[in-house]
Amino acid sequence: MQTLDMATTELREVNSTLQSQKADTNQRVWEVINPKGSHAIACGLDGPIEVTVRGSTGYYCAGMNKEATVHIDGSAGPGVAENMMSGTVIIEGDASQYAGATGHGGLLVIKGNASSRCGISMKGIDIVVHGNIGHMSAFMAQSGNLVVLGDAGDALGDSCYEARFFVRGKVKSLGADCEEKEMRSEHIEILKDLLERAGADAKPEEFTRYGSARTLYNFNIDNAGAY
């Protein structure tokens, strides 16, 4: 394992070292120590490497990740794994607001709680939160799956499109055009796979599915109050 110490190494060097590990690299396992809440750690990775960040991170850790597995052994600041394309990001602690924002693919696992706007504008990413999520989560979510083992805050899935939300606990309130949906066998399958991959000890049958009621897809004056 290669170690990068942020107490002695500049962010630029840490990132350029990690970013230069492409598909053919034989240095596949890395750790970053002393992150001390720094921003943009391990962003823009583009190869099948495993990076463990030992400590808590600031904004945009693992932003735009491709292929890499980034493990945060602590809590993550705002916008963790924002716009992720593929790969896996695992957070041992909590995640601040905007976790997985606009993510296009890959798997984001948050072992603790996620704050507000988790999965905002998500575009294909899968997010599994072992704890609770905050308000305005999955706002304008387009596609992908958001799984929450705990409770969801206010306005879940406001103005969402085709993304799926699975919540085991309580939902404080649903956002505009978000509704409870029937849990069919194909959803159980999707959920079972995600729970397994996220190391979550829960049964798919305990969850409720939510998604778009599709009433705001085309403007209708009778829905004006929801805009």
Binding site: S38, G77, D94, S96, S116
Partner: protein, 298 residues
């Protein structure tokens, strides 16, 4: 737009280190607010006197004979300690009004930063590190304190535009965000007799809380009603004689992180502000909920 830090000590053993811990936290928030910085520090109440923290742009001229001049004019006993552009006057409770009016006549250009039994507010234009050094914040002890680094959005970069803003005796306010109805609210509060030094939106927030409290609300109620009456984006941290409070607007976009251990409760705009606190690895770390008023007090 700004950085906020706050530290409320539960463990008395840490009190001598309050200033140095807060300085460290403040400096990490330099990127969020490079224009000016300020700190409110709550020290000890050992002498039962009132502290009046004042500021002058020409401290040599204004402060050199001020102590004597005030005593000669009012006959009251005054003890003054000067820290760079600021000075703290300690006066007995019964003579505070006389001293204030004498100060207005003797040194009309001097500005009052705070009044209270224990609060002292220091703020100036410049990088947080330089501001903290000028006042030797690191050497200060106390029970709790709030710091702020400012990136000015619309109002001028001045000493008086820096945070914290005093909202009453032993009370202060810092803000991260941008209010959108402060001009109308300022006009309304002016009609009610409140006075303003700046065009700053946060000063309106501070005056709003002061006004509410002058009219019978306690701080918690004033903060609750701010959620109705203030429009825009805000995270407020308010200091009180025995603790501090936090409130975020209902949208809650501006960042806020809290940490609690047996020794302290800490607030930071970013986790970076908290990383050097003792025992942070095992602290309970969370984000305050939107539109919810939090308080910690001794």
């Amino acid at each position: 737009m700004c950085g906020i830090v706050g530290l409320f000590l539960k463990d008395k053993a840490l009190e001598p280190k309050l200033g140095s811990m807060l300085t460290d936290m403040l400096v990490t928030m330099t990127d969020r607010g490079p224009d000016s910085a300020g700190i409110a520090i709550y020290g000890s109440d050992k002498d039962s006197k009132v502290k009046l923290t004042i500021q002058s742009d020409d401290p040599d001229a204004d402060f050199s004979t001020l102590e004597k001049d005030l005593e000669n004019t009012t006959g009251a006993q005054v003890s003054m300690s000067v820290k760079d552009t600021h000075a703290v006057l300690e006066i007995s409770h019964t003579r505070i009004d006389d001293i204030k009016s004498a100060l207005g006549e003797l040194r009309p250009n001097i500005r009052t930063m705070s009044t209270g039994d224990i609060i002292e507010i220091y703020k100036e234009v410049g990088l947080p590190k330089d501001v903290a050094e000028r006042f030797d914040v690191a050497s200060m002890s106390g029970t709790h304190g709030i710091g702020h680094t400012r990136m000015a959005t619309e109002s001028a970069i001045t000493t008086m535009g820096a945070h914290p803003f005093s909202t009453g005796s032993d009370q202060c306010l810092v803000h991260n965000g941008s209010l959108s109805n402060h001009n109308s609210l300022r006009r309304k509060l002016k009609r009610e007799g409140m006075t303003f030094e700046t065009e700053n939106d946060t000063e309106v927030g501070a005056a709003y809380l002061s006004y509410k409290m002058q009219n019978g609300s306690n701080l918690g109620e004033a903060l609750e009603s701010s959620l109705e009456d203030l429009d825009g984006f805000f995270t407020f941290v308010v200091g009180t004689k025995d603790g501090f409070g936090v409130v975020r607007d209902p949208i809650a976009c501006k960042p806020a992180v809290m940490a609690e251990t047996d020794q302290y409760v800490a607030f930071g705009s970013e986790y970076r502000a908290l990383v050097n606190l003792p025992g942070i690895e095992d602290a309970k770390v969370w984000e305050p909920e939107p539109a919810t008023v939090y308080f910690w007090s001794h």
